[in-house]
Symmetry: C2
Subunit: 255 residues, 2 copies
């Protein structure tokens, strides 16, 4: 049973891409078959996994446009042990096309995704039609929130927007969990915000038990084109994303 999970938060820089790549690698280490999809026109995930810029290539932009089929978008990363779909050159423009159908990603993915146990979709910090596509194509979502004031406020506002989205499309968006990210145990601020998250009426019940700690090794991994498991396997970062993978599998009902 495939689980499609969108990693979303309209607040920027909270750890969405870092979570997609490292959670994907951790799930692959636990023998799950994983597909990562870059749905962010900035292409952070693509730039991490492929050397040459994905401008020249096909990817999710072309898949959405329907100029190529699913199998032509797939690349494999030996480094992470996962398949992935890069952003592709037309993803930046596609948002400007006024009439993009919010259901198109779900249709294009169709039964192809059944080859995988987990599909993780990395999203841009926005609430546009690409986000609608990710939400409507997913079974559940993960919301990373950096443990600081502006990200917490932004995260709460995004969850309010999700409620409106559910009503507008009459769908149930299942929040798999809210993931505290970049937790810095040296600062009172991080503890204060984590507490506020756990005690919040909205967020409290959804917060993962796993907290992703701030760890410079996680920020170094993209430059090496590796996941945390290859670049610093004994680090906090590796430990945290490994335990997150267990929790995601459990919450998803995967053995």
């Amino acid at each position: 049973m495939t689980k499609v999970i969108a990693v979303v938060n309209q607040k920027g820089g909270v750890g969405k891409t870092t979570t997609c790549v490292n959670l994907g690698a951790a799930l692959s280490q636990k023998r799950f078959k994983v597909l990562l999809i870059d749905l962010d026109p900035m292409g952070s995930l693509s730039g991490w996994l492929i050397d040459e810029p994905s401008e020249n290539g096909n990817g999710s932009g072309e898949l959405l446009r329907g100029t190529i089929g699913f199998m032509e978008t797939i690349k494999h990363s030996d480094e992470l042990g996962v398949d992935f779909i890069p952003a592709g050159k037309s993803l930046m423009d596609i948002v400007l096309m006024e009439s993009l159908d919010p259901f198109i990603l779900g249709e294009r993915l169709g039964s192809w995704v059944e080859r995988y146990d987990f599909v993780l979709i990395d999203c841009a910090p926005s609430s546009n039609v690409l986000i609608a596509n990710a939400l409507l194509a997913s079974d559940s979502i993960i919301i990373p929130i950096q443990t600081e004031t502006l990200p917490l406020k932004g995260g709460i506002k995004f969850i309010q927007w999700l409620r409106e989205f559910k009503n507008e499309y009459n769908v149930n968006v299942n929040i798999l969990g809210v993931l505290p990210c970049m937790f810095d145990s040296r600062t009172k601020l991080s503890f204060g915000i984590l507490d506020a998250m756990k005690q919040s009426e909205n967020l409290g019940p959804m917060v993962f038990n796993t907290v992703i700690r701030k760890n410079i090794r996680l920020a170094e991994a993209p430059g090496a084109g590796r996941s945390i498991f290859k670049s610093a396997s004994k680090s906090f970062g590796a430990n945290d994303y490994a335990s997150m993978a267990l929790e995601v599998a459990e919450r998803s009902g995967m053995p």
Copy 2:
């Protein structure tokens, strides 16, 4: 001579809002008259400066729609010594209105801005019609870039997009400077990325001399609803944004 400056970068979480608020406060301390405009539907700047959520109020969304006039949007922050226009409740939806005119913000601001020396526009991490509005209403732009790998790659990609934007609208977007943000002198990564920025053909000539260091006091300021000058006036953060204000005034040709 009023200077309208948009603070932009499609990469999220790089320090745009933090720069708008603290640079604004620093310019006000140097006796400049300052207006801040929140053009991010997430409303980070608004949430920092006003207690109750700006959902109930008027702001840049309503100004763009033309449902209210300029003077009805203006609030004053005694704390920072600046005027500001919050996001307003309809900014979140306005992006979905297919036909928003990219020149409308410039028209709505018109000659009203002449009451100020500096107008700073805080932008969302995107490249949509709201960003086009900010760029077309501005004399120059500041691009904050966090000194890490993903933000550097994202910043370079955004500058490439700006080139296309200039061609499409046949306008000159003057980059006042690229601002290194959240520089952490304890990590090799920060030094490596800062070097890469300064040595890059694209970015090098534009990088500000001022580097904004990572400083927990800057992350604590939003929770206190204050600028860094009131919450921690002797901190690195206060020092860095004060020297940045001098450099911005100099580069803008303001005495």
